[in-house]
């Protein structure tokens, strides 16, 4: 009974286990979920991935509906995790440039995949919602 479906199931069980197992207090998968699952992190990474180096207000304008406070918080968190690099130029008015680190770019590739799935399947999801 070692068919492919069962092997797939085993693989997913393994992933669930990883998604739930803590090692010295931290679960890697949950930790990443927590990092990217706030409202603005993914969009910020998309913006920096798409346009390269950007200044604070350039990101803000690209995203459109993010507040200064939330963009600040988001960028600080991404910086802390080493996904985004922050360069301050001692000028007036201030000039701060952001860009993705190699780690940030590797996450971007995952998010691009996810974005592709969203594009392909959003019509089905919206249809399901309306059917309720």
């Amino acid at each position: 009974m070692e068919n492919t479906a069962f092997k797939e199931q085993k693989k997913f069980q393994d992933i669930f286990w990883k998604a739930n197992e803590t090692r010295n207090g931290i679960c890697p998968v949950r930790d990443i979920i927590a990092r990217i699952s706030d409202k603005w992190s993914m969009l910020t990474i998309y913006a920096l991935g798409g346009y390269g180096t950007l200044r604070f207000n350039e990101i803000k304008r690209l995203i459109g509906d993010v507040s200064q406070r939330m963009l600040t918080v988001t960028l600080r968190n991404l910086e802390t995790d080493g996904l985004v690099e922050r360069k301050v130029f001692p000028e007036v008015p201030p000039r701060v440039e952001y860009n993705l680190t190699p780690l940030g770019f590797s996450l971007l590739e995952q998010l691009v995949q996810l974005g592709g799935w969203a594009e392909q399947n959003s019509a089905a999801i919206i249809k399901n919602r309306k059917a309720q």
Copy 2:
């Protein structure tokens, strides 16, 4: 100057645009981000993907630290979007079974990829955090 790096950049710009563009009031990518980016949706999908059909309390025990209220809310949302199917058996005590729909399984595959990335890169992220 049409090198591969530039092509990649174009591709990411395209993705950012998709991640930000609204069509009749809804942005597909943001919509999906909003759906899966609550704390419990991804873990619930992982659990159902890994173990197949599960009852309410089985999911709760697998995840461990989700409250009844939040698991109920999460499952209802996933059901509304057509990612999870809910079957009620008219028994006492009540019996309700959940499992992923084909749409849910297709999302699971994306989340498994993301989980893999998390596994591979969490050590680097934790190291970056400590370096602050």
